[in-house]
Amino acid sequence: MPTEQEIFEKVRTTLVDALNVDDDEVKLQSRLRGDLNAESIDFLDIVFRLEKQFGVKIPREELFPESIFQGDPNFVTDGKVNEGGLKELQERMPFADLSDFRKDPRLEKMEDLFTVELIVNYLKKKLGG
C-alpha cells in the first residue's frame, strides 16, 4: 500500500495535468476551486485521471458530491446546510473533516471542502489504508 506521501505526489501530478497548474501551487490545504481555479469539467477530469493513476473506480458523486443538496429542504435551510444535511454529508464523505464547515455551513462554502487533502484522504481509505 502506498504511503500518504506517495499518494500526495501522485495526486499532485494528476492535478498539475488536469488543471494546468505548477507543482508548487498544489499543497495539501489547497482548495480545488478557490485556490487552483478548478471548474465543473475539471472535477470530471480529475476523477478520470485519478482512476487511471491509481487503478481504482470512483463512482460519480462519491469523491465530490457537489450537487447532493440541490433544492432539497431536508438538507438546506435559508441557504445553510442544516443538521440533516451535515449528517448526510458526513455519511457520504466519511473521509472529509467537516469541523470548519460546521462553523459556517453556508451552501456556497461547501466547495471549500474539496481540497487536495480531501482527495488524499479519500484515496487512503479507498486503497485500504
Binding site: E39, I41, D42, L44, D45, F48, R49
Partner: protein, 254 residues
C-alpha cells in the same frame, strides 16, 4: 493533405451531403468511418471507391436514433483506429406535413434522428475527445430551415434549431479541452432530400432567391466541413456557418 492519419466519423455518410463529406475527409488523408442506415449498396460502393483511391474507410450500419447505436459504432471505431478526431453528425430526415395534420410519429422520427442522434454520437465521443485526447472537432450539419422556415416543416425546423442551440452549449463546455463544436447550415443543396422541392421550384429558387444563382452541391458543404475539421478551423467554435449561396439574405432578384 490537411487531415493526414486523423480519424473521422460521419453519420448519414452513404448518400447526399454525407457522402461528399466522407469523400472530402478521405481525400485529405483522414481514416473515415461512416454510418448508413438503409443504403447498403451505396455504402459498399463508397467504401470501394475510397479504398481504390488509396484511402481508408469503413461503413457501419446503424440507425442513429437508436441510443445504443452510437456506443457500438464509436466503440468499433476506437477498436479499429484507437481515437476519434472528427465527428460529423450529418444523418437527418424530413417528414414534411402541415402542423394541423402532423402525425406525432412524424414529429418523433425527425426529432429522434436529427436531434437525439446528434446527442447520442456527441455523448459517445465526448469523454474520449475531451478527457483522453484533449482535442477534437465536432461538426453538426444543421439547416437554414432552423431560422428561415418553410410551411410544413415545424418538426424539421424545431430539430435544426435545437441542434444549433445544442452546438453552442456544447462548445462552451468542451472548449477548455480544445474540442471545438460547430454547425454547418446548408441551404438548398442538390440531394435526394431536396428532390421534391427542387422539382417543384428548383429553377425559381436558383434564379430568383439565391444571389449566387445556383443550387448548392454536396461538395459546397463538404468544403466547409473540411475547413472546420482542419488546421484553419482551430479557433472557431460554437458557430453556425450558413452555406446557402446567399439564400438566407432574403433578397429577391429583380
Amino acid at each position: 493533405m490537411l487531415l493526414k492519419d486523423q480519424v473521422a466519423l460521419v453519420t448519414g455518410g452513404s448518400r447526399g451531403i454525407g457522402k461528399a463529406i466522407v469523400q472530402a475527409l478521405a481525400r485529405e488523408g483522414a481514416k473515415v468511418a461512416f454510418v448508413y442506415r438503409g443504403s447498403q449498396q451505396a455504402a459498399e460502393e463508397l467504401e470501394k471507391e475510397i479504398t481504390a483511391a488509396g484511402g481508408t474507410t469503413k461503413a457501419w450500419q446503424a440507425d442513429v436514433s437508436d441510443p445504443e447505436a452510437a456506443k457500438r459504432v464509436v466503440g468499433g471505431v476506437m477498436a479499429d483506429w484507437g481515437r476519434v478526431d472528427i465527428l460529423v453528425n450529418n444523418a437527418g430526415v424530413i417528414r414534411d406535413g402541415l402542423f394541423i395534420r402532423m402525425d406525432p410519429e412524424n414529429w418523433k422520427t425527425v426529432l429522434n434522428t436529427n436531434l437525439d442522434g446528434t446527442f447520442y454520437f456527441c455523448r459517445a465521443v465526448a469523454e474520449q475527445m475531451a478527457l483522453r485526447q484533449r482535442s477534437g472537432r465536432i461538426i453538426n450539419v444543421s439547416s437554414v430551415a432552423a431560422d428561415h422556415v418553410n410551411a410544413g416543416q415545424t418538426n424539421y425546423a424545431a430539430s435544426k434549431g435545437a441542434v444549433n442551440a445544442f452546438t453552442r452549449a456544447l462548445a462552451v463546455e468542451l472548449g477548455s479541452r480544445s474540442v471545438t463544436v460547430n454547425a454547418v447550415a446548408p441551404g438548398f443543396i442538390e440531394t435526394d432530400m431536396s428532390e421534391a422541392v427542387r422539382n417543384k421550384a428548383g429553377d425559381f429558387i436558383a434564379k430568383k432567391l439565391v444571389p449566387l444563382r445556383r443550387l448548392g452541391k454536396p461538395e459546397d458543404i463538404a468544403g466547409v466541413v473540411v475547413f472546420l475539421a482542419g488546421p484553419a478551423g482551430a479557433y472557431v467554435t460554437g458557430q453556425v456557418i450558413t452555406v446557402d449561396g446567399g439564400l438566407s439574405l432574403g433578397a429577391v432578384t429583380a
